[in-house]
């Protein structure tokens, strides 16, 4: 079944820019403007790879290492996430390792931001860290809820398999609350609208973009690609862990095809929801963000406690 796992990872990596393009297309549709084509992200990345890069004098060797580390961590995560088949290419450590890989990604980006000594880099890093301090607990509690709900520990393949096999019985308050909290975390992590505007160019409001301001050429390509991949992975996780019905655990081609189709449908719906939220809401003030994130933390806390009380 290695072939299926490799296919799954390759698929996840390849689809990422498509999803980004799809989200911007839906947003454009919502604002009834034509918007760029779905494949535009691929073209941007290709263009960036060909351009040469400008490196500031006050940057050190770390500046060149950060994009590589970000890209590598996201690729490994892609190998760890079940998309349409429960078996994964790198089953070494469950959801807890996933969270810590995200921390690794964020840590590298913050150091990248502090390079070059520009004001915006420092500002982006400090705001990013503030938000991640509030995201981490709800992320961990979400994982704990899944582990306790499925009773299968933190290995992602087993979780999606057991929840799928539990069918409707799994759809209790715990799972729904955890899914909502995970959705908010998804928005916050990937710097979507209520928390940070991904398409903005006004440095004072940027969080995620400010950190990669210094990068150019193929480094910027790698950074862009890894953030798209992160977005895609979050959506895939939401799909395969919180709504895993239909994911195939046996290897026969028939169930694989069905679960592939289902997985894509789930991915598109989540992307549509993200785009919908982005066009409806506007970016909230930086120190309003903690209130929103505390909502997500409360949701996941209640989700976990409800498992024990109910």
């Amino acid at each position: 079944m290695i072939a299926v796992e490799i296919l799954q990872t390759v698929l996840l990596v390849a689809v990422a820019p498509l999803m980004a393009g799809f989200v911007s297309k839906v947003k454009a549709g919502m604002q009834n403007r034509p918007g760029s084509s779905i494949l535009q992200p691929y073209r941007d990345l290709a263009k960036l790879c060909r351009k040469d890069r400008a490196v500031s004098r006050s940057c050190s060797w770390l500046f060149r290492l950060v994009p590589v580390v970000c890209m590598a961590s996201m690729l490994i995560l892609a190998a760890m996430t079940p998309f349409f088949y429960t078996g994964v290419l790198a089953p070494y450590g469950g959801l807890v390792t996933v969270v810590y890989m995200f921390t690794m990604y964020r840590f590298a980006m913050v150091l990248g931001g502090l390079e070059g000594g520009s004001t915006f880099g420092g500002m982006g890093s400090s705001r990013e860290m503030m938000m991640s301090v509030l995201i981490e607990p709800s992320l961990l509690l979400g994982i704990a809820t899944l582990a306790v709900l499925s009773g299968a520990g933190t290995d992602m393949g087993d979780i999606s398999e057991t929840i799928a096999s539990m069918g409707i019985a799994a759809v209790g308050p715990a799972l729904i609350l955890a899914a909502c909290s995970f959705m908010i975390t998804l928005l916050a992590e990937n710097a979507r609208i209520p928390f940070d505007n991904p398409t903005t160019h006004l440095e004072l409001t940027m969080v995620h973009e400010a950190m990669i301001l210094e990068y150019s050429g193929r480094d910027l390509a790698m950074m862009e690609y890894s953030s798209m991949l992160r977005m895609n992975l979050f959506m895939a996780l939401l799909g395969s862990l919180f709504l895993p019905w239909g994911i195939s655990s046996t290897g026969e081609p028939v169930s694989l095809l069905v679960s592939l189709a289902l997985a894509f449908v789930k991915l598109l719906t989540v992307a549509f929801v993200v785009a919908l939220v982005e066009s409806v809401l506007c970016k909230s003030r930086l120190f309003k963000v903690p209130n929103l994130l505390t909502v997500s933390f409360a949701l996941s806390l209640i989700a976990m406690i409800s498992l024990y009380i109910l």
Binding site: C49, R50, K51, D52, R53, A54, V55, S56, S58, S60, W61, L62, V68, M71, A72, I76, A90, Y92, G93, V96, T97, Y100, T103, V110, L111, L114, E115, G116, G117, S118, T119, G121, G122, M123, S125, S126, M129, S132, V133, I135, E136, P137, A147, G151, G153, T154, D155, E203, L213, E214, G217, R218, F287, P290, L301, M304, I305, L307, Y308, I309
Partner: protein, 640 residues
Amino acid sequence: MVGTGIDAVYLILLFVPAIAGMLLGLVKASGRIPVALCAVSCVIGMLCYPYHVYSPDLAYEIPVGSYLGSYAVSFDQLGSFFISISSTVFLMIVIHMSHSGHGYTPGYSGMCSALFLSVTLCMCAETAILLLMAWEAVSMVTFLMARAGMDEGARWRFLAVTHIGGLVLMAVYGYMWVVSGSGHLGDWDGLGTVLGQGTSMALALLLFIGFGTKLGTVPFHAWMPDMYAASPTHTTALLTTVCSNAAVLMLFRAVYSYIGADGLTDIGMVVCLLSAVTALWGAMESMVQTEPKRILAYSSMENMALVTMCLSMGLIFWNSSSSLTALVTLAGLLHALNHSVFKSLMLLAVDSVEDVTGERKIDRMGGLARVLPALSAVALVGVASLAAIPPMNGFISEWLMLQSLIGTNAISSDLRVAMPLLIAMMGVCGMIVATSYARLFGFMFLGRPRSQGAADPRPLRKGSISPMVILALLCIGMGMLSYPIMNVVSEGACLTAGIDASYRDGMSGSLEPLTLGIMILGTVAVVYAASRLLSRREEETDTWGCGGTLDERMQYSSEGFSQPIVRVFHPFYGDTSSIENGRYLTRFQEPFVKYIYNPLGTAIYRVSRQITRVQTGNIQSYLGYILVTLVVALMAVRLI
């Protein structure tokens, strides 16, 4: 009993050089002999665990004992492994010390061997008198080693708090000594049944408080930051790594094997809560410090709080599922060991940076990565393992802790409702600490130099980088090869505490650290190679400054970096910000010092002023005291 000849040879090689180093240091012998002797002892100490595998029951009793029993040492699996790791760390610090530019006096290096001696004795003492003596000697030697520091108050506050902790431990060990009837720690197992529920709970709490003074649990942590900042960096490194290891090992043995952990659930909960508060407080305070050594002081406080939290959770899980207890105690002990490795690496790096730039505060550093790439690479490894980034050893113990917390659905007791709060606490704590380390590394090595010292630093001293490189490799090694280490530590812990289950079936998820590590490093290498295939043209420009040229003052300052988090957690910080001669200053008043230490100090002083009024100086009142005492005593006798 002295084992075979080789045992005796090993013991002699382990202890005699340290004793010689100490005596030479005291008699102010010049040159590097005391340092060399101390290094020899450390090397032998490193071989402790392998030697334990070779001859398991190594024990020895010195014929001439003290009034309260003989001096005996015995090495069990857990103790010898702890000694090996601590001696490795000790060796690295000593090597760095000998190469560092501080020019320490022979007395100082004599003290180093004395500290090695007392810490090793703490870990392998067989009789209570030797244990107590070694423990007090540790704090005394650290006190003397801090002499070269600037701030006097910090030093004696450290000695006062740790001595009070020592007195509490003397009472607890004395009580167990009296109850068990013999001075040998060997036959102190399971005193809980003899002591009864109430007293064993009281003893366990006192133990946590006694050792809490050294590990920095919340009410007793006030001495830590000042002591770390004031004393020479090598003393701080030894204090936070080697002495904390000894404290954790003694705490584990005392609670789990002497008292026996059954029936201590409530104490477990209380200490768990206390350590959670300590961890949060340590993390939050490390965010706002401006000196690297103070940041690392609060981070030690946070790490040690996680260790005590694990040990106290072991008490909660004890009667419900022994496999979870095995897992959580393994997590605690392994975290203590990992902490000693990466914390010593960071402190040595900080010392080199301070030596090279001559600056003390992070706001005056910056841009060193460009000038000293090797030092910054090593420091990056340290910071990564501190922040629990996957391939490093910090990640492994955090992973184990989270696993044990998540696995709590297996336990039946009603305390498991509190588990989600603990998970959340660990999440917040982990991320704040990661932020403060990113801030530490970022403001020391990245960006543009903020002072003349940072702009053109002196060249790094020859040979002072090698111990740090070894420690960095150790961090990565212990991270990737942690599987065998986990087995050894857990087996030793189960042996000592009498847990019969294996930690493996307590884990609700699988982790192969080796393959994970190889995959991460492999992928990074592959991606790096792939990226080099693309266009390699590179152009040198200035940092983007919206058109204007940026000078170093326009970079983010360290207060600015931590300002969002301070605003989010404002009620806890007690911060007051003010504008003074053009600079925006935020001052932090440590609430514990304000509400506990200062009132306590003034109360004692006021009471003593009242009592000394007895000494009026006039002989009539003195004679009056005698008359009153005589009459009262006679009446008392007559009435009773």
